[in-house]
Amino acid sequence: MIPSVKEKRPLSPHLQVYKIQITSLLSIMHRGTGIALYGGSILWVLWFLALAAGPQSYSKLQYFLLSPFGLIILICWSFSFFYHLCNGIRHLLWDAGIGYEMTMVRLTGWIVIVTSCLLTTMAWILGILCKRIWL
């Protein structure tokens, strides 16, 4: 096939032509949070590097992550983690052939949204408590 024609063909997930529904929104969010988590993993690598480098670089990283900009990153990162975890379990259940009825798909979708918000809140309460205990 002529390369120019081949490159112009639309690709399979036609995001632009469908009305957004809870099912498609959660699916897109699964990929979006997946990409965000890859970025978050780079922050973990930086955390290990800072620990290995010594107290000075460690406190620099801590200072950055506890700044307002750093906290926004941490909040988005933690929500991405819990969302990807909950929705990932939903995907694994589908792989096992469970929960394909449309009512179940929508119900588990809402369960994922509520649970990931709850887990994110709980994680931050734990984090703030730990900060108080350590300091």
Binding site: E7, S12, L37, S41, P55, L85, D95, G127
Partner: protein, 125 residues
Amino acid sequence: MKFESNLRRAQGLGSAKSGLHHWIGQRITAIALIPLGVWFVGAFIVLFPASFEIAYTWFSSPWNVTLAIFFIVVLFYHGYLGLQTILEDYISHELIRGSLILTTKLLSGLLALLAIVSIIKIFLN
């Protein structure tokens, strides 16, 4: 442990010739990341606001270090497989797609190694 049925092996590999390995790899790493991820995120929440010494001491336990390294390997493998799927779906230009997938693969390996070397350094000090 084989994750392919004998019927599938007998019937040939299908049009793409590969892909099952990718699919199964993504699921196995996903299952492993449920306990590993919750464990490490929990540890990170507790350790991150703490002092350098407390975080450093945590890495002196062989169990913590082994599980952390295991987590990093599984995490970056899962991340690479996921990003590869996204790139294959949305980048239509063959050369750009191929280059990005290769970059992701090498970057994932590099980041995982960097993390592992750092963890071992903390453990040995």
